[in-house]
Symmetry: C2
Subunit: 202 residues, 2 copies
């Protein structure tokens, strides 16, 4: 039998992902869980506390499903980046575009109105950017990244296009819209990718 | 003295832009307008009707402020695209990143839960994409676009990066984050831009 706290977090994550945080009420969550208000407040002091805990859990899932599977130490940097960029394509082809990126949704919904959410999201995107920058720097050391690449700007651009792909996929309800944007992003990265100098390992 | 309907739409647009549609109540709007409920329902049957009317008005403003000023017939296609891409940089440097793109916000908030909003937004993004595609095709005819460019995919990519730039600008609360992403997007377009063949006009 699943732990009640976990069950509440499961339902909250799913509803917030599909409807947004402000558009999901505690009553909606309780109804789906089949538990009472008293039980809820035993685990969470407020809806904000629940929302932040659901976000933490989402971030942990993204770490396991995406970050740790893409950014594998020892794997070539371009392979790591390509694995990262394949993830949204594979996920939306399998599950459709509904919901989109749970983090991107919350960025637009919460950044201006809830500093606690913004800071958590800011940290998560900064960690992701650091992983991407590490790949690009590793490529630079291997001699497979053009020297005029602005690593930090390029890493932000990758995240922007990644989030924009989710946004347009959600609007068009079409995984192939998202896939086309990611393919164009790979094309952009190919412009910065060079053959390694003779004698250097990939 | 402003028309009451316009006054309601002004306040609604501003609040929806900053807080989201679902997080803005009719009461919030009435309080800011200083008008009563009866007066409100004389102009709008429901909050949905108000939200869609506010979106229409937003779209009209974007058409006047951005679309018609960027995509000027007779101007060179690359100049038109550059003008379009300057807009978010100039706007956020002047006004800050709060709010972000009113259309992108609604795409993520409403696409999965309100088909009326989604369709209106879908139409708006399709019109914008058509303008961008027209520029790229015009560049193709002038011989200033590489022949391997996938015009439709590239136009979607431009919109995705444009929206992603607003998203990360809003997260970081920093216009320079947005500006860097747009500059990288221009770099991507530069890869597709070629010198015109001898004898052709720009």
């Amino acid at each position: 039998m699943p732990n009640t706290r976990e069950q509440i977090l499961d339902v909250a994550s799913r509803l917030i992902h599909l409807r947004g945080f402000n558009n999901t009420s505690i009553d909606d969550i309780l109804r789906e869980c089949g538990i009472g208000k008293g039980n809820f407040y035993y685990y969470f002091k407020s809806k904000d506390e629940l929302g932040l805990a659901a976000l933490d859990r989402n971030l942990e899932q993204i770490k396991q499903e995406l970050v740790q599977k893409s950014f594998v130490p020892g794997r070539g940097p371009w392979d790591q980046l390509w694995e990262f960029l394949e993830y949204p394509i594979a996920r939306t082809r399998k599950n459709g575009c509904a919901g989109g990126c749970p983090l991107g949704n919350l960025v637009l919904e919460m950044s201006d109105i809830h500093e606690g959410f913004r800071q958590k999201l800011h940290l998560a995107f900064t960690e992701l950017r650091t992983r991407i920058e590490d790949c690009l720097r590793q490529a630079g050391l291997q001699g497979t990244l053009r020297e005029d690449a602005d690593v930090s700007r390029l890493a932000r651009f990758i995240l922007a296009a990644f989030e924009g792909a989710f946004l347009l996929g959600k609007l068009h309800q079409d995984p192939e819209v998202l896939a086309g944007i990611i393919e164009e992003l790979k094309q952009h990265l190919e412009h910065y990718r060079t053959e390694p100098a003779l004698g250097s390992a990939r």
